[in-house]
Symmetry: C2
Subunit: 146 residues, 2 copies
């Protein structure tokens, strides 16, 4: 498990693969994003952008969170304060996602010596290397207690 | 249902209330963010930041998406391309959330006369008027077909 002093700008973390099923797309959408292009395969075909069923962007983001927790093992957890995120392409049923993380900045706190802010970029890619999500995230990371 | 020509800078949309239960916090976290401060009430008490169980930030974001679909009724759906989001405070069990949306910019497409980009700010507030999430979102909005 990693503390602030274990991290360096340029460090990379790569997750396992995650299969996104049609059932999971519909289950998530039903609860949190009940729009027709996430729920109804026939009607989604007629949508001017999606032209077929697509996962909610928030579903893709949530899968990315899951993969972060597995591949980026911070001792006190991933505590996000801010994110900037884009979804260049929709996630489709049976896409196999993985995420690639790279640390871009580390800012020790001036006022609280036990912690700092870490900024990292993420790409979520499918099995064709299409980028489905990219983001820059700010998290709070603690030093190892003395 | 609204098209691009129905929207104006400054338009506001306010959602219904949404009760966030402990069971829902754990169910979401179990799937997408299995960190101890989202899952285990006793162990969460000792966390230096959370000091008690908190919803995943992605759970809060997903609830906001649900409330957007209900209070911001675009004819072709909410098609997000980019978001910048902050979570100033954690969502807690039994918080009652609502969202307040305000359109901040409308940019007609130069190349595709049937559509434009709409930018809107969101605040998600609980029953004490604490801001749990704020964001700026870019979405694609279509004009009414002629």
């Amino acid at each position: 498990m990693l503390y602030l002093e274990d991290l360096n700008i340029g460090d990379k973390f790569i997750s396992r693969d995650y299969l996104v099923t049609l059932d999971e797309i519909k289950e998530f959408a039903c609860k949190y994003d009940p729009q027709v292009f996430h729920l109804d395969e026939e009607r989604a075909k007629d949508h001017p952008i999606f032209q077929g069923i697509a996962a909610s962007g928030w579903h893709t983001s949530s899968i990315v969170m899951r993969l972060w927790t597995e591949c980026f093992p911070l001792a006190d957890g991933l505590i996000g304060s801010e994110v900037n995120m884009r979804w260049p392409r929709p996630t489709r049923p049976n896409d196999i996602l993985h995420v690639e993380v790279e640390i871009t900045d580390i800012i020790p706190s001036q006022s609280k010596p036990d912690r700092g802010i870490v900024i990292y970029n993420t790409q979520a890619l499918n099995q064709h290397d299409d980028v489905l999500l990219n983001s820059s995230t700010k998290i709070l990371v603690f030093r190892k207690p003395k």
